[in-house]
């Protein structure tokens, strides 16, 4: 028996050890790859498999009756509940109405936060006066959980739409403004100097150099901001709401309709994920040069 065959024989005897060796060894790269780049490669198949296995395990434990439907309803019962709410509605309003109301609150607050936060953040980056004035209040409220100041919002602005949108607005505003502010630093001093040496005004430098250079960071801040918006939605719909996905989840939980709770969570996740995909598309269109120069 040659030495090589002996090696093979050993591996065949202990498959687990073989796997460990395979994971631990440093494999040379295939042509077209770069050696030693951490975490390179495609994860699509593995991700899909994970989702599949999670769904399967979920289905299995409910099908075998290991967990009561009150705690974990089966995947198919949630889908059926989704269809029935889609057709018949929840507490008198159709599902699309709940989705629309929540989307209006989140995206309305998001657009408002961007419309005010981005210019203010840019101004904070450009001017010590503006930064000096606005930095303390933003840094003061930013780390506070929205649930903590929800009562104040209600005392000041009532239980209508204003307090709901304002609560979401505040949670989006801080990350967007701070992102725009730090984006101001993205322009290289050479780019700024080049513009000035062509006789540019301060406004032109802002418009044609600093703003475009800050776009990648602004778009990233917007993605982070909308995430905070969805997080805050349920809190915003806790008080005196009669419509909305957050309201649906909260009121379903009071009646122990676990299937509706999970269904609402999935709907929120799906909308947020779709919007994130859209933002990535926008990023590729608007800043194709990101990280390339």
């Amino acid at each position: 028996m040659s030495n090589q065959n002996k090696e093979r024989g050993k591996k065949a005897q202990s498959p687990i050890r073989g796997l460990i060796v395979r994971l631990a060894r440093e494999r040379p790269t295939r042509p077209g790859e770069i050696y030693g780049v951490p975490g390179s490669g495609d994860t699509m198949i593995l991700s899909l498999a994970t989702i599949g296995i999670l769904l399967f395990v979920w289905w299995l434990i409910t099908a075998l009756g290991w967990v009561k439907p009150l705690f974990v309803p089966s995947p198919q019962s949630i889908f059926i509940r989704f269809l029935s709410i889609w057709k018949e509605g929840f507490t008198g309003s159709p599902l699309w109405m709940h989705i629309l109301i929540s989307a209006w609150r989140v995206f309305g607050a998001f657009l408002l936060a961007c419309a005010i936060g981005i210019p203010l953040g840019l101004a904070m980056g450009m001017s010590t006066l503006i930064r000096g004035i606005f930095d303390p209040p933003i840094e003061f409220y930013r780390p506070i959980p929205p649930l903590a100041y929800l009562p104040l919002m209600i005392i000041w602005f009532g239980i209508g739409e204003t307090s709901k949108i304002l609560l979401i607005f505040l949670s989006v505003f801080a990350p967007v403004a701070l992102g725009a502010r730090s984006g101001v630093r993205s322009a290289a001093i050479e780019q700024i100097h080049a513009a000035y040496s062509f006789g540019a005004t301060r406004w032109q430098v802002l418009r044609h150099v600093i703003l475009p250079a800050a776009m990648p960071e602004i778009l990233t801040a917007m993605r982070i901001g909308i995430g905070f918006g969805w997080t805050t939605l349920v809190a915003a719909e806790m008080v005196a709401a009669t419509k909305g996905i957050g309201y649906m989840v909260l009121s379903a939980s009071q009646f122990l309709q676990t299937a509706v709770v999970i269904m609402g969570i999935v709907v929120i996740a799906a909308i947020a994920y779709l919007f994130d995909l859209l933002m990535r598309l926008v990023e590729r269109k608007v800043v194709p040069w990101k990280g390339k120069m």
Binding site: A188, E190, Q191, H193, S197, F198, Q204
Partner: protein, 261 residues
């Protein structure tokens, strides 16, 4: 064009109460129309500070910078700067980068196109007008930067180690290109480099600076760029006995500064 630097001194305040730095001490330098002044010196000798003074990005602590009889009080379109890198705008394509200065000055699209076409041709960028600048090689990016600087017809071109980031072969080609453009356009050039060979080959005048405090210690008049423009090949110019002699002399000056540290 006439540039007069009169007794320019730049003192940087110390960082958090540390000692002050005298970046430039009593600099006197005059540039005439068509001069190609190259500045060389060990790092920290104030070359870039001097360029920033002329560009108007920095004000002298003492002394003054006079351009055609008027004091320089800030950056302006009569002095275009070409940087080592990072100065192009990656969100604009090659043409829009070249037209950037004209756009800032409010020229209409047709006029901008006409001027840009001329410099796209001159710099050998034809066919790349619509390319994104980040897709170009370093040498081509630098040509875009030079084209952009030329579009606004400046009196003086300020080049801050423009070829420092290029590989050796591209660099020699770029040196020849810059000399030809300088010759054809008749611009005055203030040029910073770390390469003694580049300095001797390109300049009509060489200014050697020494650090701490930054000051001008030697000046040379150079014949080599003229030899090249008269038709002698660049390598032959750089290999001539006269060239090598001055090269060693300048290197000796710079090394003595480095060893004095």
């Amino acid at each position: 064009m006439r540039l007069n630097i009169e007794n320019a001194t730049v003192i940087y305040p110390g960082i958090s109460g540390g000692p002050v730095t005298e970046a430039l001490q009593q600099i006197n330098l005059t540039m005439e129309d068509g001069d190609f002044v190259v500045t060389i010196g060990a790092s920290g000798c104030g070359k870039s500070t001097l360029l920033n003074l002329i560009a108007g990005f920095l004000a002298p602590t003492e002394g003054r910078i006079m351009l055609d009889g008027a004091a320089v009080e800030g950056p302006g379109a009569d002095r275009s700067v070409i940087f080592q890198k990072h100065a192009l705008l990656p969100w604009l394509n090659v043409r829009d980068n070249i037209e950037f200065g004209l756009m800032l000055q409010g020229h209409v699209k047709e006029d901008r196109n006409k001027v840009a076409d001329r410099f796209i041709k001159l710099l050998g960028l034809s066919g790349f007008e619509d390319s994104p600048v980040y897709a170009l090689s370093g040498g081509m990016q630098q040509r875009v930067g030079i084209a952009r600087a030329l579009t606004c017809d400046p009196k003086l071109l300020l080049m801050d180690e423009p070829l420092g980031a290029l590989d050796a072969l591209t660099r020699e080609k770029a040196q020849e290109l810059i000399l030809r453009i300088w010759h054809d356009t008749g611009k005055s050039v203030f040029f910073i480099t770390h390469s003694v060979e580049e300095a001797l080959f390109m300049g009509t005048r060489l200014v050697v600076m020494s650090p701490r405090p930054g000051r001008i210690t030697h000046e040379f008049n150079l014949p080599f760029s003229k030899q090249f423009l008269d038709g002698i090949s660049a390598r032959s110019v750089k290999a001539s006995a006269e060239f090598i002699e001055i090269r060693e002399e300048v290197l000796a000056i710079i090394f003595s500064d480095v060893e004095a540290e």
